[in-house]
């Protein structure tokens, strides 16, 4: 024999889903009023909810993520093009070494000057960074 509570719940579940009416013998039960009250309260939306700013915050995060994604894509394209360029230069020099002989002679003649220029540029960058850091601290 089915439990009375089970029968009422089963009937109310059916009514909830299909809109069928509750049989007469069950409506006479005292429990049905309590169950109907429980069912109606459980279906009510709770008073507390998300703050008004929630949607704006989530959408902002969505936009920030999309921007990061497109930035990454841009950086990868730049890296790809740079790698392709470097590789092309290396291959050109390797295969046409003889064609660049005047350039090698020029570099050989001014190697001291080139080295001084490189050291000078590096020293300038270093000093620039240090002065920028000290000015931002003060």
């Amino acid at each position: 024999m089915k439990d009375k509570n089970f029968e009422i719940q089963e009937m109310l579940d059916q009514r909830l889903r299909t809109g069928t009416t509750v049989p007469q013998e069950l409506t006479e039960s005292e429990d049905i009023n309590v169950y109907e009250f429980i069912y109606s309260e459980l279906a009510k939306e709770p008073e507390d909810g998300l703050p008004m700013s929630f949607k704006a915050n989530v959408v902002r995060e969505f936009q920030a993520q999309n921007k990061r994604k497109s930035d990454w894509l841009f950086y990868w394209i730049v890296v790809g093009i740079s790698l392709f360029g470097i590789l092309s230069v290396i291959l050109t020099i390797t295969f046409f070494w003889e064609a660049f002989s005047p350039l090698w002679l020029l570099i050989d003649r001014f190697k001291g000057l080139i080295a001084i220029a490189l050291v000078g540029i590096l020293a300038f960058k270093l000093l620039e960074n240090r002065s920028f850091l000290s000015s931002s601290r003060s």
Binding site: E30, I38, E41, A43, G49, K55, N57, V58, Q63
Partner: protein, 187 residues
């Protein structure tokens, strides 16, 4: 193509209006599910935000094998469970199937009824139920999920869901009936 498909395609393409529509449509579901696992408002809000970010990242993997609402509810449920584990805040930990007696809290039901309506008393009783009972009640009654959909969302077998629903509602009914009878006797 229905609107749900259009929203999903829009999100994949990075359209923030489509994402905004999705948030509008599902923020209540996400919050209700999160709140049933994590009673603290701030925790539920954090999880709700995390869920929408997860949806954005993994929407491309949604294959329409289930309803979008079931998929979103499932992400929410498991994100909330993980959050709860990380913060070790399971208020109903140690609850066993045999201990089917709810704690009325510090105040007795009479005191509560004097202060609050029957609906509030029922809400308090519901909040004291174990987390799995709360979640199946919310999904079934508030979100109108079928038993099968609740199973897809939570991973709980259908027979167990039916059992949880029956027991939870019966416990609530017994508590409220006892309270009404006691109140009536005193008058």
């Amino acid at each position: 193509m229905d609107e749900e498909h259009r929203i999903i395609l829009g999100i994949i393409k990075g359209d923030s209006r489509a994402f905004s529509l999705l948030v509008d449509r599902y923020q209540k579901l996400v919050f209700h599910v999160a709140k049933k696992v994590l009673p603290e408002q701030a925790d539920a809000e954090d999880v709700a935000q995390e869920v929408f970010i997860k949806i954005h990242k993994s929407i491309g993997t949604f294959k329409f094998q289930s309803k979008l609402s079931t998929w979103i509810a499932s992400i929410t449920y498991f994100t909330a469970i993980n959050h709860q584990k990380k913060n070790k805040r399971d208020f109903t930990e140690g609850y066993t199937e045999d201990s089917l007696q709810m704690d009325d809290g510090q105040e007795n039901p009479e005191e509560l009824m004097e202060k609050k309506s029957a609906a509030q008393y029922l809400r308090q009783l519901t909040d004291q139920l174990p987390e799995k009972y709360r979640i199946v009640l919310t999904l079934f009654h508030l979100e109108e999920f079928s038993i099968e959909e609740i199973g897809e969302t939570t991973g709980i077998p259908e027979g167990t869901i039916k059992n949880y629903l029956f027991r939870a509602r019966r416990m609530l009914k017994d508590k409220i009936t006892n309270h009404i009878n006691r109140d009536y006797d005193e008058r």
